[in-house]
């Protein structure tokens, strides 16, 4: 670790400019919202979107082809971090657009958006972390904001219950994570990723049990954040209880950040433990694919179904970690990028389905959508076929890339299991299409009319189809993003 002397020189803060912008904007929105007349409260949502765009622009203009460190190696900015942050910005912006209508009648809207920004800030720190301390701080910031956002409709019993459950399990997982980190620190005497990695590689056999114990606790904590089975118990309840716009946000953005941390930890900290972690992740991936896809079949609520579907997709994305190769990680990034748009699009449709009193949450509510709104039906069809991994949709290439990476690394049986579970998964996505296209309308629809939402749906559907037809550029970008770290 670098020598720290007092008075220390002013640290290089340039790599953190996007984070600083987001932090300031979040505070500003929180303060200014108090002074805004109630009919103009929606400016805070726009302000949050503009913040994301400025942060993205700043991040892009600051980033170079090489890795830049700040704060004595506690924070790094490299192409990988920039790419993952772009995904996080995209997820946040889409989630904010989804919130406009959903939160129209809620109080304290400024708090809501500033919490989203703080949550995003936590993820940005996670993505740029090169030290367990930074990683933990980012993760806790993200988690605390998510707990509050899940409980946002505090008068709704379901929402509070979900948040409490999420909070208790989340606190437990943070404990596990810290416990694991403390083991690794005890063995290596450092919290810096690359220093820990070097020390682990040269550690003697007598330290092995401590190392493996530390690794297991660390991975359990991380698996909780990405909701991999068997650390997924909180997911369906939290997804169902949260406001739908937050469900959409939670199903994508924290996963992106969690997978970014997983890649960094695997590459920097644990290359010497590859056989061990590959075995652990093989179980996590297979269980996630199995539980996610099988349990989703039994769901009647679309939010719970999508929650289990997220678990299944996490299992597929983990195949990239199992491959433990540059092409595997690139495949994960492809998966996350495509998943972001198809899942956000699906949730946008769910929010658009809101009716009087009902919020379009049951699968039955979709019956006959294609007659009333062929456009929405077509878009939902695109998202469902894409989630099922049918060609000419982006989801096919996501699955293709992770399966290719797993097979290349010699994990043929896991790939076979995965591909069979993707067939199981196709069933419940097809069932949604069945409700939309084959069934008759049962209850009168009452759609939210919102141009930004419709634009979001159209945009997400176009992106999914465009990636489905021309996946080349995305695959190149994802490989390039990994250039600095693998």
């Amino acid at each position: 670790m670098a020598e720290i002397s007092f008075p220390f020189p002013f640290p290089n803060i340039w790599p953190l400019v996007p984070e600083i912008i987001v932090a300031l904007a979040a505070c500003g929105i929180l303060l200014l919202d108090v002074f805004m007349p109630s009919e103009r409260r929606h400016w805070s949502g726009f302000a949050a979107i503009i913040t994301c765009l400025i942060a993205a622009a700043a991040g892009l203009s600051l980033s170079g082809p090489t890795q830049v460190e700040a704060f004595y190696g506690f924070f790094v900015l490299d192409p990988f971090a920039v790419f993952m942050k772009l995904l996080i910005y995209a997820a946040t912006i889409l989630a904010i657009v989804l919130s406009f209508e959903y939160m129209r009648n809620e109080q304290n809207i400024g708090e809501y958006y500033s919490l989203m920004l703080f949550c995003m800030l936590g993820m940005m720190l996670m993505v740029s972390a090169s030290d367990f301390i930074t990683m933990y701080l980012g993760m806790e910031l993200m988690a605390l904001c998510t707990y509050v956002l899940v409980a946002y409709q505090r008068d709704v019993l379901r929402s509070s219950e979900a948040a409490l459950k999420y909070f208790i399990l989340g606190a437990l997982s943070s404990g596990l994570l810290l416990y694991g980190i403390s083991f690794l620190y005890g063995v290596t005497g450092s919290t810096d990723f690359s220093e820990v990695g070097q020390a682990l590689a040269s550690a003697g056999p007598d330290a092995r049990s401590a190392i493996v114990l530390g690794m297991v606790f660390l991975l359990a904590g991380l698996a909780f954040k990405v909701s991999a089975v068997p650390f997924h118990m909180w997911t369906p309840d939290a997804y169902e209880g949260a406001p739908t716009s937050i469900t959409a946000f939670m199903s994508v953005a924290p996963k992106v950040a969690g997978f970014a941390i997983l890649i960094r930890v695997m590459v920097d900290v644990m290359p010497s433990l590859q056989t061990d972690y590959v075995m652990i992740f093989s179980w996590l991936a297979v269980l996630s694919m199995a539980v996610g896809n099988l349990a989703a079949i039994a769901q009647r609520s679309i939010k719970r179904m999508l929650a289990y579907s997220t678990i299944g997709h996490v299992g597929f994305a983990l195949l990239g970690i199992i491959a433990a190769s540059a092409s595997g990680y690139a495949a994960m990034l492809v998966y996350l990028s495509v998943y972001l748009f198809m899942n956000m699009g699906a949730f946008a449709i769910v929010i658009l389905m809101r009716r009087e009193g009902i919020q379009g949450e049951l699968l039955d509510d979709f019956a006959g959508l294609s007659r009333v709104r062929p456009g929405y039906a077509l878009a939902m069809g695109v998202f469902m076929f894409s989630l099922a991994g049918i060609p000419f949709m982006g989801g096919f290439w996501a699955k293709y890339a992770v399966f290719a990476a797993a097979i290349e690394a010699g994990h043929l049986y896991i790939a076979l299991l995965g591909i069979l579970f993707s067939v199981v998964g196709a069933f419940y996505y097809l069932r949604v299409v069945k409700y939309i296209y084959f069934d008759e309308e049962r209850v009168a629809f009452n759609f939210v009319e919102s141009l930004p939402m419709q634009a979001t749906v159209a945009f997400a559907a176009l992106v999914v189809v465009a990636i489905g037809i021309f996946p080349g550029p995305l695959m190149e970008i994802c490989r390039a993003a990994l250039g600095g770290i693998t």
Binding site: A330, S370, P374, F385, I390, P391, F392, F396, Y400, F403, A404, I407, E408, L412, A415, L416, I419, L420, S422, V423, A426, F427, L430, R431, V433, K434, Y437, F438, P471, G472, M475, E476, R479
Partner: protein, 518 residues
Amino acid sequence: MMEALHNVLNFPILSLSIFLPLVGALYILLFVRGDEAARWSALAISVATFLVTLPLWLYFDTSTAHMQFEEKHMWIQAFNIHYRLGIDGISMPFILLTSFLTVVCVVSAWECITKRVKEYMIAFLVLETTLIGVFAAMDIVLFYIFWEAMLIPMYLIIGVWGGANRIYATIKFFLYTLAGSVLMLVALLAMYFKAGHTFDIQDLMAYAFDFRWQFWIWLAFFFAFAVKVPMWPVHTWLPDAHTEAPTAGSVILAGILLKMGGYGFLRFSLPMLPDASQYFVPLMVVLSLIAIIYISLVAMMQRDMKRLIAYSSIAHMGFVTLGTFMFTQQSLEGAMVNMISHGIVAGALFLCVGVMYDRLHTREIADYGGVVNVMPVFAAIFLVFAMSNVALPGTSAFIGEIMVLLGTFTVNKTVAILATISVVLSVCYTLWMYKRVVMGEALKDTVKSMLDMNAREIAYFIPLILLVVWIGLYPLPVLDVIHASVSHLAEQATTSKLGAANMLAQQAAEMASHAGGH
């Protein structure tokens, strides 16, 4: 370095054939309003596509087995996937059959599809794009993508416009086919890494896989193609899908989709995995004979006309798989002719059932009887196709079956004799159905009220009749087209790759020992 592409027209005609229907579907989606306009635009687009595919036949060079009308562009650099198209004598007939049957389907749906006409036409045009794509693709990933994308329009066609039990049927169809084909995806990824990062079909044909690889890849392909053909015992989706699909859906299903399985065996299993194909001959022969004999018996017992024809399709495809795995020139050509002929005949039979269904809205054999008294023209047309189905000499099916049987006879007499039983059985089930439906007195009031076919209905049967009789009496043009490619295929299928694979393994071992030595 770019290799020279064989394309006499110097024009991307295959791309045009593939994407013209898709562009047409987008046009209908965005700009066409009203049912009548949708029908006419779909007709115009499908006819235009048929005209575009005609030069493929007119300019086809029958003297070579080389791929023709080739196109090649890099598509996805990261995985070395090319947008590569090309056709030979094995794929060209299917492309023409597809574009031709799509026109027939659009016309046949003119009056019987009354709800959501626009979406129906869009689904058929998208389906046409994926089907032509399957037969034109020369990159195995491109092939796979069209192969799977085909599921989406077909799922919607059966699910939206199908019969009473359509949802069960369409989900069963989708999941069966998907489960079969994902194994193919694993196999082709494994081949890609084994054969040095290439998805090019011709490179993979040339690469010498050792027996262990051939064994497993063959099995994975087998599941994909056997579900599609379909072969016993994975055929159970077909009767349901056929029964519940709208008439035109059944036509495309029987006419083209089943042929994709047979085409898969011809294009992938035989030339890429010759040794495994030889190894699995007993399995294929047994399954084909079960399809031919057992399924024929099952067909005889059906009370639903569409189910009967569906089972008859499985039996006829049994001939195709039998001929395919005899590896002789004659049996392979017989399998090809059988597929082409069955595409026309089974399609026409489903159209005949559709004509009756449009009038009485029932497919039960027992609900008819004496139809000839009220619909003489229809009875005559139905008879032509019933006779084709039993492979009467002078019809196209006869040419296909006799060639398969002759080819089989030279290899294995017992199998040939067993397969010949089915000729008798197909007479039983087809003519018995014809007798119960068409012959006799018209006793039921419902039957008496049936009107004979109108001009539109007759119009789409005429080209089908002409084709059946033309191929039946003068099959030379068809045989000419497929001859060179089939003899090349027969050579590939009977040339073992194991020697070359051993050489490769030895080279690799030497390389390794060299590397170890230094």
